[in-house]
């Protein structure tokens, strides 16, 4: 199938299903015993053949976690989570590190095909017309607890780029992993991150060497499949001096009545003159209209702009999950470093999202931009929570923040909780926030031209989000726009 046809096909599929990723793949899996204990931590570490230092680190985290309390400051309501009632390790049985794609279980390949994720190296993800035969995207596919395949490894290796699962990185590049793992999000950081340190099972590892511009987009696709399983992946991206990488992350899960926990940690390190662009389209199963089921998405994402002139740009489209608790942050250490955060968070039905960012200005002339668009429909609650902190040495730091909320229906809520702390007078911090509903005039205009109410809302909301969506790589932009409309289905009329 040609790329364009594939795109059309896929977009049609997207448009038809409410949550078309709700299927379950029946695949033989190897699972650790239920529950959480030191034994489980040791089991996971042994399963991965990890070195002693990593096991020690995990155990240190686990013991620390036992002393911590679950945070309750977010505007989120959910029943207490029983951490013993979950599996912490589940892996498709046939894939103890397949050497090539041919060895991957065909069931799995089918699953990814269904998800629209190309694991065949000649495949091209939908959305790019005329991309020709040159590959534009390399994918690391994480299925439950383990990475099942990584594409275009060879091509990337030619440039010196390391793109593999973090388990492989631990084996093959232990010095890099040891140097950077936990250096941005320490093991004691917060309840969910600490839990992740203890039980993380896989995730992606990226190292871009000095002066290298990644020739293609790197992408990880996360899929939760097994029942009662928590997914705890860990991503570590290091961009060495003068390098550039654009990284995409996507995720889905089957439709289930019970809630599943997803507690990931993402660490980004940008050295001198390096740029990391990190895009997420989060589409975990959101639960049904009555709030039954859905993923609890408690994620810690943080970037350290360590080098001079380094830059990290977070773009996120959050449409899924029953609960989203996520604050991708930038620590702007290097002079002239830049942090960006572009976010669209859509909540419908009974979904709850408490999301935002932190920009910590430490170095001179550091700059940050925050654009957040929150859309709340149904009975959902959507909160932007953000922090801009200017430390005393951040001469001439600049921040601009804009948070807009859109309310669709009179049962939902939209909240804005920004914190602004400045300890340097030469810094300039600006924050703006608005809340409104969809303009009657705009709706009328669209309806008059023959658009259905639902299409009109989709169009208007896409317009509202445009500032953020335009930051997404092409591959994701098409999908994201469609997703925005789908997420709001049933919210009007």
């Amino acid at each position: 199938m040609a790329a364009t046809e594939q795109t059309i096909e896929q977009v049609r599929n997207l448009a038809e299903a409410k949550y078309k990723y709700g299927f379950f793949t029946d695949i033989e899996a190897e699972t650790a015993p239920k529950g959480l204990s030191e034994e489980i931590v040791r089991f996971i570490s042994a399963k991965k053949g990890e070195p002693e230092w990593l096991l020690e680190w995990r155990l240190k985290a686990y013991r620390h976690w036992l002393t911590m309390e679950e945070p309750d400051w977010a505007k989120l309501h959910y029943p207490p989570i029983d951490y013993q009632d979950s599996y912490y390790y589940s892996a498709p049985k046939t894939t103890p590190g397949p050497k090539s794609l041919d060895e991957v279980d065909p069931e799995l390949l089918k699953t990814y095909e269904k998800l629209g994720i190309p694991l065949k190296e000649q495949a091209i993800l939908a959305g790019v017309e005329g991309a020709g035969d040159s590959p534009s995207i390399a994918v690391d596919a994480v299925f439950d607890s383990v990475s099942v395949a990584t594409t275009f490894k060879k091509k990337l290796e030619e440039k010196g780029i390391i793109f593999c699962s973090i388990s492989e990185a631990v084996q093959n590049h232990p010095e890099l992993v040891r140097q950077y793992l936990g250096s941005v999000v320490p093991y004691s950081d917060n309840y969910f991150a600490t839990l992740n340190c203890a039980v993380f099972t896989d995730g992606s590892f990226v190292y871009i060497p000095k002066g290298v511009r990644s020739p293609m987009e790197l992408s990880t696709y996360f899929r939760i499949n097994a029942k009662n399983t928590g997914q705890f992946e860990r991503t570590l991206i290091i961009a060495d001096e003068g390098s550039y990488v654009s990284y995409l992350e996507g995720c889905t899960a089957p439709q289930r009545d019970e809630n599943q926990l997803h507690a990931a940690v993402v660490e980004l390190v940008a050295l001198d003159d390096a740029t990391i662009k990190y895009s997420t389209v989060q589409n975990w199963y959101p639960g049904d209209e009555n709030g039954k089921g859905g993923i609890y998405n408690f994620v810690t994402k943080r970037a350290a702009c360590r080098g001079r002139n380094s830059k990290v740009s977070w773009t996120q489209v959050e449409t899924g999950s029953a609960i989203t608790w996520k604050y991708p942050s930038c620590i702007l250490q290097g002079d002239n470093s830049v942090g960006e955060f572009y976010s669209v968070a859509i909540t419908n039905n009974m979904q709850q999202a408490d999301t935002g960012t932190k920009m910590i200005h430490i170095g001179k002339n550091t700059r940050s931009t925050i654009i957040s668009k929150g859309i709340s429909a149904g009975k959902a609650q959507n909160t932007y929570r953000g922090l801009v902190r200017i430390l005393p040495k951040a001469q001439n730091a600049r921040n601009f923040t804009q948070c807009d909320s859109l309310l669709i229906g009179d049962k939902c809520g939209a909240h804005t909780v920004p914190y602004i702390e400045s300890k340097n007078r030469t810094a300039r911090v600006e924050h703006e926030a608005t809340t409104a509903k969809i303009s009657e005039d705009q709706l009328f205009y669209c309806r008059q031209r023959g658009l259905s109410e639902e299409d009109a809302v989709g169009l208007i909301v896409n317009g509202f989000c445009k500032e953020v969506l335009k930051e997404l790589p092409m591959e994701f932009a098409v999908e994201a726009q469609k997703l925005v409309a789908i997420s709001l289905e049933g919210s009007v009329g």
Binding site: I390, A414, H415, T416, E421, R425, R428, A433
Partner: protein
Amino acid sequence: MSGELTPTHSPQGTGASFIEQVKQAQPALAPVAHPWLACFRAEGMERFAKAGLPTTRNEAWKFTSLRGLDKLTLSPAPDAKSVPVDAIPTALEAPGPRLVFIGGQFRADLSRTQGLPDGVLLDALSAQMATDPQGLADRMEGLLARFPGADHPMRSLNAAFLADGALLHVPAGVKLAQPVELVFLAPPGVAAAWHPRLLVLVEDGAEATIVEHHAGQPGAAYLSNIAADVAVGTGARLHHYKIQREGTDAFHIATLNTHLADASTYDTFVLNLGARLARHEARQVLGGEKIEARVSGAYAIGGDQVSDITTLIDHAKPNCTSREVVKGVIDGKARGVFQGKIIVRPDAQKTDGYQLNRALLLSETSEINSKPELEIYADDVKCSHGATAGELDEDQMFYLRARGVPRDVARVMLIGAFLDEAMDEIIDEQVRAYFRAAAAAWMGTERA
């Protein structure tokens, strides 16, 4: 849904030494005969002892630490009658009715309550306790019933020491021609604590203006802990202004609850200049329709002062407008805090809420903490907030310097202009001019 500024207080809150002093001081209070008032005190003490002083681990007090209170050694307040007073501040050219309090105690000889329209009650709480305790208890009960769940440790502390304060009751339809001034002075050189209470009832269609003055001298670490309960009736108008110039070693904590009924107008402004630590916490409940609430303020601080303005504008009913402009100038090692929350409850459709917070940092070591917050549960609303922090605009400075204005003068002009944007929110012209002059005087001393 959280509607509280201070939702929970850990019982093991800090301030053990302070709480101990408070417990020891309470029995020394003159007893009250009236059972409701006695009970009010006892319950206040109980609640405060249980809650303790709020700590920075409490979200509502994240930026303002009361640890300094624990280091105080409080002595009993001197008898107000023995304190000589040379000047009483006034915002008015022709002073009208006023109540004067020294160290929280009423001074009848310095006060003026004559010439008010019939039915208007302006009196000290201590006097009312003696003459009409039942009337006072009834009014307080009626006022407090408007703020269910408004528990607050500093209000509990205030209740525990209920002894004096001001009562203004304006009956329906009466319009006060002259502003009422409430003057709270600290006796010089005394490190004591006082807890005055303000009760203001402006009934349907009535109109009044209040100007609060709080002033003291540096050199004594005293605590002035004011609690106010205000009710504005249907179609009534209340202008409520406050200027705070406590001594720079003092603690000033004011907690205000205001309830607004249908079609009322509330215009309030606070100017914080003094105190080592000042917290002005104002909660406005827009309990009716078509209300206009204007809740603004300004502060200018230096040295190691902390100025905290915390507001909650609670839109409970449809078709109301709220507007808030708070601006601050921060010099030296001072720290400004602004926490402004707007809640729009599910019922409050067609709400129009606007909030602006700006801070000007003048020195290397100054600091601002700002938390503008929107909590919105209704869809047909228009709410926005803006917050900025930065230094004096070099371009503006250059413009003035290029025209031959000396740097110092230009600086004062620019700071004055910056604060004026907030001051312009004050509707009463006399008060506006007075507040401006006070801010200008601050610039004179601070920049000298």
